[in-house]
Symmetry: C2
């Protein structure tokens, strides 16, 4: 063996050893995420993009998240199935979309007459919320995390003013989910129509009213041009989106990348609530300026009262015969009672005071 | 040269090269943080601890933050000076404490009759807030970040009910800062007393009223035992604490650790708002149960109205003659007007609706 060869071999051996150590510490992971939304969907889509950007930057490129929007995977409401089956590593969607498959997923988005965003985050992170959500998702091989909050959604656009419970009888309204069930208890005919057809349906009186999200997202669909009455919200006081992670994928990540992923999701979720406040305020200012026809209305107290009772009845039915459902409903009700008593003497009192002065 | 020596030299050379690369990527940083609070101060102190824990875990131990509480550094209100001088790398305190040194630091904690926490975070992160704050802190060689929000602070504990503006004349109240100045414009004599002496001062009528924070922190000081009237808030609707970082220390961190630090601070700040909601609700429930003497009161509208005008006057004075102050006040006023118009049709409308049903 010549000196030269010995040297090369030695260098190679040492280099290989170091490279292996390096590789272990520096393994990179690329996770594929399917989102329910289309490409460049505002606010909701910003949450996934900013989450991915934070994770990549904090991990110095070791954790990359590749986002597929619905135009790519063609299954906006298939996110749950795809992440469960391992076709995607992660998802961004909303828990209540899966209630047809697993009824108890209903409770982790927003409940009619329920908690506000601050109250609900407090329930998730300092109350029993995260633990209960995991109790629902763990048997499915999934981890579920808060994925961004819209704040209180508006009660919808109506072409005629609602002055009494009679005005709701037979009223055709686009309002999906649990809130649709509550509305149907007070005489409304809830329908579900694809977003792209909503404007025309309202314009041609195929429907009389439509619920979408709030000023920022509603403005883009143009309802303010053909409906004068914009109702305040009650049915989704704090719509929380969802990050889903396949448990096996999660388990493969080293502890530092798990924490980076967890914190990126948590921050992106909080940020979305703040962005929603910002964008909604901006959109509402421009609706007020450009569409003086639009009036803010509150449903009459008797309507709220009747819907509130209908909601209580439906919740009781949902909880009947399912121990976990009963536990979740009880936890939310208890938490709401306590947290709202404080919100009433703090936030609500302050906002009402401010509305009086000038 | 013997083969053995050549081999050793080669291994050493290669090993050294790899070790150097490794060290660059894996350099660890220990930052020293001074907080204004004492050790184990609830909520505020939890924010620094959780920030440090996130940073350490996400960086796999490469970024460590060592926290000194006020019992250690003995200068609760010296955080600004110590971080500026480089005695500490970071601080956790509140921006308005430095208004005596740099008047424009006043605007980044909370302003009387100002924004709520959600509104203010929206101003910081999606409006001009962060940029304006940096305009104030950059010339001082500091970076400033939101450090956790208490939510709306309560208006204080009073031993006698306030029924009119006359009842405030000559009233001795512990209320510091800008809010104290507003109160003094309506006849109150504001005083500042060390926290440890507040209970005795109130009990012995050295003062007639005391403002502290909210139920969770007030409960520990025992005011509910000796004052019956707990007033709703107006003077600090969204008290935001502050993380300070010495600019030179920040500049030394590699990009991934800067991002880890930034996101850890941001998340800890949001979390503190949520924890405040949780702890205040819990404390308020126990005050209600154990101290039925305590009544929630709102100042009469004429009192609010007079204080609101006094506040406007003081703000105008603060803005006079300082271009940056004027720019900040204008930015906050414009943002508040727009964001509150939306809060009124969303959060406020919903909370008022919910207060009606049952």
């Amino acid at each position: 063996m010549k000196i030269r060869s010995v040297l090369s071999a030695a260098v190679l051996a040492v280099a290989t050893t170091f490279a292996a150590t390096q590789a272990l510490a520096q393994d990179t992971f690329t996770l594929r995420l399917a989102e329910t939304w289309g490409p460049n969907f505002p606010i909701f889509g910003d949450a996934t993009k900013s989450m991915a950007a934070m994770a990549e930057k904090m991990s110095d490129g070791r954790l990359k998240i590749r986002i597929d929007s619905s135009n790519k995977h063609k299954a906006p409401l298939g996110v749950f199935d795809m992440v469960r089956a391992g076709q995607y590593d992660m998802g961004h969607s909303a828990s209540y979309y899966w209630k047809g498959k697993v009824p108890n997923t209903l409770f982790f988005t927003s409940m009619p007459f329920g908690m506000t965003a601050l109250e609900q985050y407090a329930w998730f992170y300092y109350g029993d919320g995260m633990e209960l959500m995991q109790e629902v998702y763990e048997p499915l091989g999934l981890k579920s995390f808060p994925g961004g909050n819209t704040g209180i959604q508006m009660g919808g656009w109506f072409r005629k003013e609602i002055k009494s419970i009679e005005d709701l009888q037979g009223l055709k309204m686009r309002i999906p989910g649990f809130a649709g069930e509550v509305f149907s208890e007070v005489g409304v005919s809830p329908t579900n129509i694809a977003p792209g057809e909503l404007y025309t349906a309202l314009e041609r009186n195929t429907i009389d009213a439509v619920e979408w999200v709030g000023p920022a997202l509603d403005l883009r669909l143009g309802f303010q041009q053909i409906a004068d009455y914009y109702y305040t919200g009650w049915h989704e006081p704090a719509t929380e989106l969802q990050f889903l992670v396949n448990q096996k994928v999660w388990d493969k990540l080293p502890a530092d990348l798990q924490e980076i992923l967890r914190i990126s999701m948590r921050t992106a979720a909080y940020d979305m609530l703040i962005q929603s406040q910002h964008e909604n305020a901006k959109a509402w200012a421009s609706i007020k300026e450009e569409y003086p026809n639009v009036q803010i209305k509150k449903f009459p107290t008797e309507v709220f009262q009747t819907m509130y009772k209908a909601n209580q009845k439906l919740l009781k039915e949902a909880a009947a015969g399912d121990e976990l459902a009963a536990k979740i409903v009880e936890s939310q009700e208890d938490y709401l009672e306590k947290t709202r008593a404080y919100t009433d003497i703090s936030e609500r009192a302050y906002l009402n005071t401010m509305a009086e002065v000038e």
